[in-house]
């Protein structure tokens, strides 16, 4: 049961971040094409009626959602790097303690943010704010903070549980981070 839950969660997470990324790219590309088409009179006859003023806002929202859930995915892939000078210098016992400490700090921080974010969403819900261009209810847009952060907290706990049990961390990360990082 737990295993199935985790597998479904993994797939949803991956699917979400990948499709947000693709959607944002296509939307901004379309918006640029649309704006440039105004220079071509016969084309503008057709495209002029379209309105892309919402594109930037949607792109920003998509990427923020991508970032919040992607950060949780990143815990799973071990891409969030820290300063490992002290950790590498430590003996095996101390190293174990430091790794668990670092992971619990991660879990604690993301849990606090999830709770604070939920409070914030609740508050915004009360104000009835809508976004400037799309006129979407802002509390839905802000939902990514508690949801993403809670998922990230879950990932930290998962990684910690695995580390305590087997001493293995997710593929540590310099190779992966280096793919396109920094």
């Amino acid at each position: 049961m737990g295993r199935i839950f985790n597998r479904v969660l993994d797939r949803i997470e991956e699917w979400l971040v990948a499709s947000f990324m693709a959607a944002a790219t296509l939307i901004i590309f379309a918006a640029v094409l649309h704006r440039q088409s105004s220079a071509i009179p016969w084309l503008w006859d057709y495209t002029g009626a379209l309105n892309f003023s919402w594109a930037q806002e949607l792109c920003i929202y998509l990427f923020i959602w991508m970032a919040k859930f992607g950060a949780a995915y990143g815990v799973r892939t071990g891409i969030h790097i820290g300063v490992d000078v002290a950790v590498n210098a430590a003996g095996p016992r101390l190293k174990r303690v430091l790794v668990v400490l670092a992971l619990s700090l991660g879990a604690f921080f993301t849990a606090v943010i999830a709770i604070m974010g939920a409070r914030w969403v609740w508050f915004i819900h009360g104000t009835g704010q809508v976004s400037p261009d799309l006129e979407w209810p802002m509390w839905v847009v802000y939902l990514c903070i508690p949801l993403g952060s809670a998922l990230m907290c879950y990932r930290f706990l998962q990684v910690m549980a695995r580390f305590v049990k087997s001493g293995v961390l997710p593929a540590q990360a310099h190779g992966a981070a280096a793919e396109e990082g920094a």
Binding site: A71, V83, A102, A182
Partner: protein, 429 residues
Amino acid sequence: MNVALILFILLLLLLTGTPISIALGMTVLTFLALFSSFALGTVDIVSQRLFTGLESFAIMAVPFFVLSGTLLTEGGIAARIIRFALALVGWMRGGLAMAAILACAFFATISGSSPATVVAIGSIMLPAMVKHGYPKRFAVGVIATSGSLGILIPPSIVMIIYAVSTSESAGKLFMAGVVPGILLAGVLMLVTYVTARAKNFPTMPRASAREVWVSFKEAFWGLMLVVIVMGGIYGGIFTPTEAAAVAAVYSFIAAVCIYRGLKVRDMPKVLLSAANTSAMLLYIITNAILFSFLLTSEQIPQVLSQWVVDQQLSPWMFLLAVNVALLVAGQFMEPSSIILILAPLLLPIAKSLGIDPIHLGVIMTVNMEIGMIHPPVGLNLFVASHIARMGMTEVSIACLPWVFVLLAYLALVTYVPVISLWLPGLLYS
């Protein structure tokens, strides 16, 4: 007093090996818990900042450029660029090494990342150099060092992050990176050429004019990317972020339809890997924005800036101090975090001393390049040691002579601002 406390908390957290992003956020939370006794107003500001901090279209150039770089890297552009570089300079003394540097410079126009450049060019050129009798150390040093061109030659992720954290124009910064980037590639090639003559490294047969042309045609579509990006930004056709989105779509077409290194069904994998990296960067950015919000509300940049002015430091002394501080920071953290933490602190001081913000951006970028080939956390070192199957220590030693070359170059860029400012001055006057 507060400065010391904030930095102390941050340092303590960093030493546990906590991800830098989490450490930054935790510092803010700890400080608020200690001093504002979690007044509800401040807490709400924190949760709001976590969203609104990212709510900027300029920042979104980061994920777009990461995606476009991933697409072309996986799409098989590297081999074409290398073939073209070989045709151009392979016949000179030390030709393979020269071509490796040139290929890194070309690749830097596609990717905004240094380690990615090392992987793409190094995994082909390193074995080739070793096979042709270059000392392995020399080969590794060349690759790791010239890979660092990735963040200096536009488009550059590090420069976008500097632009975002200081509200400068990313377009101007890109323009400012062009001349220093070409110059550095030239310097590296010159040093290689001199070494090659002294040690009598092999040459390659001269490529026929036809080979030059054919290889150029092959590499052309990849090299066009930088023309589209820079031309589009400069021509006012699109903003840097839109340029990055267009670059991503262009890279998709080039990788799938022209170079055929990727298939449409590979897309989920590529998107996921690009999303992974960009989410990591955006997460650091969010927390760094939170952190600099704390610094600003404690008026720390102003205090620091006032202090420096009171010391009557001359600009050159300040720049020297900046270089030293950045080189030290570069030993422990990767570039994006350093820029995000330090740029907002350094910029007000630089401004009060009459140093151009764009020039400071280039100085910081070159500093970051040195950090990349400098132990213990030089990302290029890790990647190079992985490709070369050499230990970190040996790779570090291999890069040491190059660190001095880059330091000399850093001095040049720091004290001759016109190298960076000439092109943007010309275009944006």
